[in-house]
Symmetry: C2
């Protein structure tokens, strides 16, 4: 008997990829740089964004799309800091996809924004599998999580343009090997930029913010 094979994922992902390309085209045309921020729960996505925004808000009109299963704590943090924020509830879905990004962008005055951060669901698996239509993908890995994460969640480190290693102020209390993590990331993704930072103390932010501005300026040219 012939084996029937249904490639569900392929078609779903193909449709998503098509919409993602459309979104990127639209963003490029309107000169909005969309940075998709991915990380484990508690890696410090919100704290990194708040500090990054505080360093760039004089220069760019900035907005944040907060994706959560069903919460608003991060969006409220952003709003309290005076950042234009929209909350997206994924209704149990473990990651943003292009369709959700589009629904978010449609309800947000992105035409007037130069730089938008999409704070994705805290998860190292699903978000790596879905193209959101962003201009760039960023992964934040925190020191307490350990330097072995590229071995366990390789796709995440393959789909990003940059990795921030956050919470470096806690390095005395955790076994975390900078060289090993760099090697492991570059084995998966030789082009990935790696920045060692602390959202708490601000260490390392100058280099990260300079690089990010260059990417945004190149996109919005």
């Amino acid at each position: 008997m012939a084996v029937k094979v249904v490639e569900v994922n392929e078609s779903v992902y193909a449709a998503n990829d098509h919409l993602a390309e459309e979104i990127r085209g639209q963003l490029k045309a309107q000169k909005t740089f969309l940075c998709n921020v991915m990380a484990s729960p508690g890696a410090g996505k919100s704290s990194v964004l708040l500090r990054t925004i505080s360093l760039l808000r004089e220069r760019y009109a900035i907005g944040v799309m907060e994706a959560d299963i069903d919460a608003t704590v991060d969006a409220e943090k952003m709003a309290r800091a005076g950042v234009q924020t929209i909350q997206i509830h994924t209704g149990g879905e473990c990651a943003m996809n292009a369709s959700m990004t589009k629904q978010g962008l449609d309800r947000f005055p992105t035409k007037d924004l130069d730089l938008v951060f999409l704070e994705n669901i805290g998860n190292l698996v699903c978000p790596a599998e879905e193209d959101t239509g962003a201009s760039m993908n960023l992964e934040i890995l925190s020191v307490p999580e350990g330097d072995d994460k590229p071995l366990k969640y390789p796709l995440m480190f393959e789909v990003v343009q940059a990795v921030l290693i956050n919470k470096i102020d806690t390095k005395d209390y955790f076994d975390f090997d900078d060289e090993k993590v760099t090697e492991r990331i570059h084995a998966l993704n030789p082009e990935a930029k790696i920045f060692f930072v602390s959202a708490k103390t601000g260490e390392g932010f100058d280099a990260w913010v300079k690089w990010l501005s260059e990417q945004a300026d190149a996109w919005n040219r």
Copy 2:
């Protein structure tokens, strides 16, 4: 500034409850207690398991099922510690489901084991949505992740019988409020047992291991 909320709901959950119940019946009949261990990446699942096993291995025949996307680092750690281990590769899936658990159990001499730990994929979303057929669900939350995680990933804290708050040895370096996290967990799940532990120093393990033994003994009676 007001927060705009977009409800994007397109979640479809696989209904595998029936198979999960079958697995539980089989485990109960053969007197094997299966503990499903869930957590964020880097919360310390493997370290907690290694210490728990070292305290219980004289008393129980113990095995570990390691679920990973496509890695074997944790399984190798367990095997080096002399623990019976089977590696399950989920092939990109972000959580174990009942069918995967069954495939694991079928290839593992669980009949001769009293206590089996299933180390689920590091993720606070998907594993909470899938019944694996385990006798109990455990969530490990680590101090560096923050005390707000029950607000952001409520389902995870609703489906567990116990929460271990791990890495309490690092509490001087993070803002983590024991009372707040306890309140937030109990608001979602008033019956949940909460233990504050450090897999590094061993603090808090006596109470956790005593409670776990009672659960296993009651199941295997």
